[in-house]
């Protein structure tokens, strides 16, 4: 909404996601929670800039890589981390964990960890908003692998046939840079040469945007969210992200250490693939550098913002780790809404 014009706030939102995800990795490495998890490092600008254009009536649908989307929508880092740690104070009282994090009050009512699983849900939510005469729209976040699934094709066809207000936002992080052959994009698994061609075939206006270019993302989403809202019809956008080196292994790793503010001030990370990534593909480093270069922000403000965010996340981690476990009896409750139980 209003903060599109405020670079400090935008930077803070991106930093919050970056520092949150680093904390998640540290907690995982320390054995604080079991199971697999997915982090949003390197894609922060996408969630932040699209959510700047959303209003309370809007809904979002996410995937297993949901932390950034929910934080950008305004979710509490404390309750999110508590949920990831399976604690009673989490958003789902320990029933969802990282994979299904949902915050209904923020218009994120269901997070499916099935690839493509949320696309029909998101499309139906857009239909429901339209049916109720709401001014709200839906943003559906998904990865490029969702286009391997039949659910994607059924969903976009319905959205086009029904003319419902939804932005299909494909975050394409399919190929790590060192494995990409020259010119190889958009995906490691689809035979389509351009993902936007697929949506075009369904009469859905589509475009590609660089996921490392915060200003381009901001312009793109301001326009597309506006079009979806005013025309009540679907749009498709492919955000090309270059996978963060820490997301290349099966389990995320803080490859080359946590993100360092000095990397935006000219120092280079020691790990060569990280140095390349920070220089060319990291939306956070690139955005901060541009703010500094254009004089919109001082190093001091950047540093104090980062310190504030680190403290917020450290506090969230303390909250989560000191939170109680759910009562085991809780496992038996809440299959059905209302008094009815099987």
């Amino acid at each position: 909404m209003g903060n599109a014009a405020n670079p400090t706030q935008r930077l803070e939102s991106m930093l919050r996601i970056r520092r949150f995800e680093e904390q998640v990795i540290r907690l995982a490495k320390a054995g604080a929670f079991p199971g697999h998890y997915h982090v949003y490092i390197g894609q922060e600008a996408t969630a932040v800039t699209v959510c700047e254009n959303l209003i309370p009536e809007d809904m979002i649908f996410s995937t297993w890589r949901n932390h950034g989307h929910l934080l950008a929508r305004g979710a509490s880092p404390e309750r999110m981390l508590a949920e990831i740690l399976g604690r009673a104070t989490g958003y789902a009282r320990g029933k969802s964990g990282t994979l299904h994090l949902a915050v209904t009050d923020l218009g994120a009512p269901a997070t499916s960890a099935m690839v493509g699983g949320a696309l029909p849900l998101a499309t139906g939510a857009a239909l429901g908003l339209k049916h109720q005469g709401s001014s709200g729209i839906v943003v559906a976040f998904f990865g490029d692998a969702a286009l391997d699934e039949g659910a994607f094709y059924e969903a976009i066809n319905l959205a086009a046939v029904w003319k419902v207000p939804i932005l299909y936002l494909c975050e394409n992080n399919s190929i790590p840079p060192e494995k990409r052959k020259r010119g190889q994009f958009p995906s490691s698994t689809l035979s389509a040469a351009q993902l936007v061609d697929i949506a075009h075939a369904f009469q859905i206006q589509s475009e590609v945007v660089d996921g490392a270019d915060t200003d381009a993302l901001s312009e793109c989403f301001r326009r597309l969210v506006g079009e979806v809202r005013t025309t009540s019809s679907p749009r498709f956008v492919e955000v090309r992200c270059t996978r963060w080196p820490g997301n290349v292994p099966v389990w995320p790793e803080l490859a080359g250490g946590e993100w360092n503010l000095n990397w935006a001030f000219g120092t280079k990370p020691e790990l060569p693939e990280l140095a390349t990534w920070v220089e060319a593909s990291d939306p956070l480093s690139r955005y901060l550098r541009r703010l500094l270069d254009s004089g919109q922000l001082s190093r001091q403000v950047a540093a104090t913002t980062d310190t504030r965010v680190r403290e917020e996340i450290a506090k969230a981690a303390r909250f989560a780790e000191s939170s109680p476990w759910p009562d085991p009896a809780e496992a038996m409750h809440g299959t059905f809404a209302g008094a009815r139980q099987p």
Partner: protein, 329 residues
């Protein structure tokens, strides 16, 4: 008034649409291939044309869209079509709808209704004859309603569309669509989740649901007429919630039970009823619980072959006699 099953279903849809603007339909071929049934729905679909979403042949997408519309605050009814088509939509029906309330820690509600027309219907062959209730019964989070009568068809569907807060599979049966009965629409309906004693009897209990109810009633009439056996017939009505209490209470009285089930024998709904009796009525049983069910083979096309598999009143009665004649060795 005298009304048939399709007319009762159509009336429930009409009243729900009138009662709540959040109710709308995705798809609209509720009576399947029954011309009489389609005629019953035609005026409702015409009256509320703007609230009937055109539906491509897209069960997976449509099922998910119905769930999503429920999440946005609507109360959609999605016509899955033949119960067998639920397999096309399985990922959404089985792995999205039932989990959302639980895995959101109670934050989200999913008041969606899926309409399915199941059963061995004559010439459906292997792919259009599935009875999906037992498979769905193994998924926590779905309400399974299987009305066997026009009154229940009306009451259960209206309840699902206007009152339920949870995902509901409303399971109609091709062989019930033209059944008629007197329905008093002003009478209080039996609560959802209660089984109905359709016929009282002292000698044994026939446990039925869906199309097995009229066939079990016919079997009971045959048993009384030709063998002097008085069977009690229970219509379980809903598989989730499951009214184990009424079932156990009946068998505590009769001491014998036959489960009539159109599901395949192995792991069918009848297996759950039999297990309930084995655990809860052991001390009352004078004979083992028997099941009559569709054999564990796909449904064949030829009328002669299909008929060989159908659970008929005669087969139910024969199994009941076997239970009556049981003597401990």
């Amino acid at each position: 008034m005298k009304i048939n099953y399709s007319q009762a279903t159509a009336r429930a849809v009409q009243e729900a649409l009138q009662a709540d603007p959040k109710v709308f339909l995705i798809g609209s071929t509720f009576a399947g291939l029954s011309n009489a049934g389609r005629a019953a729905f035609a005026p409702v679909l015409q009256e509320f044309a703007s609230r009937v979403m055109p539906a491509p042949v897209s069960e997976l997408g449509l099922a998910g869209a119905a769930i999503g519309a429920a999440l946005s605050g609507c109360r959609p009814l999605m016509d899955v079509g033949a119960g067998s088509f639920a397999f096309q939509a399985w990922a959404q029906i089985a792995n999205e709808a039932p989990n959302i309330h639980y895995m959101s820690g109670g934050q989200s509600r999913v008041p969606v209704t899926f309409y399915c027309l199941i059963g061995i219907r004559g010439a459906g062959a292997a792919q259009h004859s599935h009875r999906i209730q037992a498979m769905l019964g193994n998924i926590p989070g779905l309400q399974l309603l299987l009305p066997a009568t026009p009154a229940d068809a009306y009451g259960m569907l209206k309840w699902a569309l206007t009152e339920s807060d949870n995902p509901t599979i409303y399971i109609s049966h091709s062989k019930l669509l033209e059944d008629e009965e007197e329905v008093d629409f002003t009478a209080p309906a039996l609560p959802i989740g209660k089984a109905r004693i359709c016929r009282e009897g002292r000698d044994l209990t026939i446990v039925a649901h869906s199309v097995m109810v009229p066939r079990s009633m016919a079997a009971a009439a045959l048993l009384a007429r030709e063998h002097g056996v008085e069977a009690e017939v229970i219509d379980m009505r809903t598989l989730c919630p499951l009214d184990r209490e009424t079932l156990l209470h009946s068998v505590a009285k009769t001491g014998r039970a036959v489960v009539a089930d159109e599901c395949h024998l192995s792991f069918g709904a009848g297996a759950e009823f039999a297990a309930t009796l084995a655990r809860g009525a052991f001390g009352y049983l004078k004979a083992p619980v028997h099941r009559v069910a569709t054999p564990d083979v796909p449904i064949p096309y030829s009328p002669k072959l299909e008929a060989a598999l159908v659970v008929t009143p005669e087969k139910i009665a024969a199994e009941a006699l076997a239970v009556m004649n049981f003597r401990k060795a």
